[in-house]
């Protein structure tokens, strides 16, 4: 099971409370979008799922996040295992300044896995880059187009066999055509992976997600099936946000 259960999550940066009593369920092999205005806590919530917020000095949190039934905040929880299980894609593609093949195999080499030829092909095929790049795998990754770089970053995290993929505005640096292709890729990936995406683009959320949550001032205002959120939300704040009357 690669669902995520969030229970009564509070998160503070020093004295500032960034997340307030967030509870929800992110279903397995579904795309869940988190929407909301800038600074509402979307990315903060996303980063708790692989505990990237731990890197911020003043951060503290309480509540529980269960992945595979285990609380990732428990003492002794293996963070390396967590970050292998929960991969992340960022706003701007961030390939390593290495060759294409080295980007894919980087995680495998760190884990001292020796056989990875098949993995390279498998991962590049999964993101529809194999046909374009199979003859130039030793070429520099940074010379790829932005869309290809973003695909490569997704392929890079697939190589370490995650169960959950977090995406923080993954298309914000891409043009509409590249955005549409990445969205298609996400719909393919959800057959195998649980995907959580943070996006400012409400049309993107409505196009690709199965579930959608609205964050507002650190609180999860409403969480429901995407169709419900965009046609008949329960909360007035959600109604006002999706119709452009608030935010």
């Amino acid at each position: 099971m690669s669902e995520i259960i969030v229970k009564n999550l509070n998160l503070y940066y020093g004295n500032f409370q960034a997340l307030t009593n967030v509870s929800c369920l992110f279903e397995e092999k579904k795309i869940t979008a988190i929407i909301g205005p800038s600074g509402c806590g979307k990315s903060t919530l996303l980063k708790t799922f692989n505990r990237m917020n731990d890197l911020i000095e003043s951060v503290r949190f309480d509540g529980r996040i269960l992945i595979d039934g285990n609380n990732i905040f428990d003492d002794g929880y293996d963070l390396v295992d967590l970050r292998k299980k929960v991969g992340m894609v960022f706003q701007r593609p961030n390939p390593f300044p290495l060759s294409i093949i080295s980007n894919i195999t980087f995680g495998l080499k760190i884990r001292r896995l020796k056989r990875y030829d098949d993995v390279v092909e498998e991962c590049l095929k999964a993101v529809s880059l194999w046909d374009d790049l199979k003859d130039e795998l030793t070429g520099p990754a940074l010379q790829l187009s932005l869309e290809q770089q973003q695909r490569l970053c997704i392929a890079r995290l697939l190589a370490v066999k995650p169960e959950i993929i977090l995406m923080d505005e993954p298309c914000s640096a891409l043009d509409p055509i590249a955005t549409a292709r990445i969205e298609e890729l996400m719909l393919e990936l959800k057959k195998k992976y649980t995907i959580i995406i943070v996006t400012h683009n409400m049309q993107q959320a409505s196009r690709i997600s199965d579930f959608c949550g609205l964050m507002w001032l650190g609180k999860l205002v409403e969480f429901d099936a995407t169709e419900k959120i965009f046609t008949n939300p329960k909360e007035k704040l959600t109604q006002d946000y999706i119709t452009g009357r608030a935010g």
Partner: protein, 220 residues
């Protein structure tokens, strides 16, 4: 940008209400023509129909433009969807009134058959149903919905009764068959207008509640 969109949406709703007013007047005039055998009213109804056809196209195009350019959601999306549907129903009601007027012309020329007091009863109820449905749209108030559903059942029952009465008359006087069919046709058109008033109130209910309200089992 959103203020502009909401201004445009309000403008579109006003266009629909303007069309609704005209269609209500067409129904009123066609009923007047039928009850009082007033030929002048049929001319008025026919002349307005062209305006209604133009307005229907204008409203369709305006709504499609707003959907394409603004990707509305929530109650804005629901309003646009019901505007498109009600627009279609209003145009059909206008067509029905024109068709009724064509029958009225023949009845004026050959007033040998009466629909008794049933047609005027049906007309009164149907006018009221449409008026309530349009009022619900104007005020986003669905408190009259149940009353409209009950009136639809009354109209259906009156239509069935009229058909039975007219068939009896045909049996007694076969020479009036052609005119009798006109009476039945008018009754059927009134019954259809009642159905479309129900469509409109159901659409308004969807807009207000966000829930699908059509064809519930407990209303059949």
């Amino acid at each position: 940008m959103e203020k502009h969109f909401h201004h445009e949406l309000e403008l579109l709703k006003q266009k629909l209400l303007d069309m609704a007013n005209k269609v209500q007047q067409m129904l009123s005039d066609s009923v007047d023509a039928l009850v009082n055998l007033a030929l002048s009213k049929t001319d008025i109804v026919n002349s307005v129909e062209h305006d209604i056809n133009r307005q229907e196209i204008d409203i369709d195009q305006h709504a499609l433009k707003l959907i394409a350019l603004h990707q509305p959601a929530g109650q804005d999306l629901r309003l646009l969807i019901i505007i498109l549907k009600i627009n279609n129903d209003l145009e059909r009601i206008a067509d029905e009134t024109v068709n009724m007027c064509e029958r009225v012309v023949r009845l004026i020329e050959n007033p040998q058959l009466e629909g008794g007091n049933i047609l005027p009863q049906m007309e009164g109820i149907v006018k009221e149903m449409l008026s309530k449905a349009i009022d619900a749209l104007v005020k986003s108030d669905i408190s009259q919905a149940q009353s409209i559903f009950q009136q639809e059942e009354q109209v259906d029952a009156l239509h069935r009764q009229l058909v039975r009465d007219v068939i009896d008359q045909i049996k007694r006087r076969p020479e009036i068959t052609e005119l009798a069919l006109d009476i039945i046709s008018i009754s059927h058109r009134l019954e259809r207008i009642g159905d479309m008033a129900v469509n409109i109130i159901e659409d308004v209910m969807y807009f207000v509640t966000g829930e699908e309200e059509r064809h519930p089992f407990d209303r059949t």
